[in-house]
């Protein structure tokens, strides 16, 4: 069971703002889905190693050589706001409360 407080906490972590209606709905939906998921708690998995990746690759490295990359103006072309050849963001000092 996941209650309203937990939903609001997780939403804050995920940088989502939920309406009252959404909080209630998501609380019910997540409880439902987590109820199903919790069946994996019944399995004995103590000696089982976790799988993070199905293929055997580790540290796919390339030589540390500078290669051509996107020109700056191309990389900035999709940005909502740009200034001084960089991404422009609002001031964190203008946030209503520190997060």
């Amino acid at each position: 069971m996941i209650d309203r407080e937990q939903v609001l906490h997780v939403a804050r972590l995920a940088r989502l703002e939920l309406t009252d209606e959404e909080v209630g709905r998501i609380s019910a939906e997540l409880s439902d889905v987590l109820g199903h998921i919790e069946k994996i708690g019944e399995l004995d998995l103590d000696d089982v190693p976790p799988t993070t990746h199905v293929v055997e690759v580790s540290n796919a490295l390339r030589p540390d050589i500078v290669e051509p990359s996107l020109p700056r103006e191309v990389a900035l072309a999709n940005a909502p706001a740009v200034a001084a050849s960089g991404f422009l963001v609002p001031s964190p000092q203008a946030d209503a409360e520190p997060s």
Partner: protein, 477 residues
Amino acid sequence: MSATDVTLLTAAAAVDAIERGELSAGELFEAYRAAAAGDELNAYLWVAQDAPAPVREGAPLAGVPLAVKDLFCTQGVPSQAGSRILEGYRPPYTASVVAELAAAGAPLLGKTNQDEFAMGSSNENSAFGPVLNPWDRTRVPGGSSGGSAAAVAAGSAPWALGTDTGGSIRQPAALCGIVGLKPTYGTVSRYGMIAFASSLDQAGPLTRDVTDAALLLRHMVARDERDSTSIGFPGEIALPASESLEGIRLGVPEELSDEGVGIERGILDAFNATLRLAEQLGATIETCHLPHAPHALSAYYVLAPAEASSNLARYDGVRYGARVEDGGLVGMYTRTRSEGFGREVKRRIMLGTYSLSSGYYDAYYGRAQRVRTKIADDFRAAFESFDFVVTPTSPSVAFELGAKTSDPLAMYLNDYCTVPMSLAGIPAISIPNGLSDGLPTGFQLCGPAFSENRVLEAAYALEQAIGFDELARRARA
């Protein structure tokens, strides 16, 4: 040939016709461009306006055009992964696999509709509206590659690219009566695919028949140093030719082929009929066991949302897409994400963030990773006794639009038979398996990692025996 005639050719037949000089690539492209522009299924989000540059002399795919799921980045062409949060995004580069296929002679025809960020099994989660199933327009095409599947089934594309994270190629292929193949994880580059769950996402073909799937896949597999999990494929993908299953051992997992787990009777009847056909072709059929498969969906719905919650952190209104101002910085992030993401995406971000959060990580994410190990072990054990494991692709035929949108768990159960292979990273194909109540069903066949050539051979033999006529629906329409 008339414009209608040329769109009746399979992609492989169109390649042959062009090479023999009976058809021009330009004529073929225009016929499909017109069909895609006139699409009434909402399968396309963007269609090419102009004919592409002529393909190079001797290009193996000869100019047969390709429809591409929206989430593949295509330079200068809208690529929004079905989401409002990528409003107006035109990537400065093209996904490796799309570039490889263009170089092989398959130019971009259009971008296809999909569930937002590939999260869904019905295509109803697209910010651009649902796709309609060409067999019955009151029903879903499946998802998340629903636009690609519908376009191929309706004949507005000769073939298409999709992506499969937990069934997103195979399930819509089944619901639309076409072929869909999820390759071994790592065989096709993920570079330029807008990510959902990076340890599961894999690109693959949606085609009218098995031969077309083999032909397209042949030009997709490649090691790509821009994707650090890319491996490539040992050898070449061959075009299948065998019409026999002599000596082939098929395992039918009890856990994924029983009415008790929610598979419709009509789906099981069609599945069992094909097992009998397989026996006539020389295969032996035995029950096998994947004891952890019933837990695959649980593990998947922890792991995929967890990876998604991390991957989707990048949509913050800074570098691309939409921005909604709210005075400060964190306020801008929050407003942008809250207004840009749709309902299912928010649900999965919440689920993923929850299962990764302090105090819950071990119980959910850690356990799910261990279940994943057990599922891969189950398949390894099965492949010691069997060449392939076979199941129905989807537990149901295409359902009515809106039937499952208010019940996320019911929607997630669509992936019951496809998720285990995704977690194990192994190749799996869905082929048309006749009709149930007048709607297509799918037969799924999977093999060990990198067994694509054998999977395609067996699927081809079954396809010939089943004799599904994919043109039947269009003739009727």
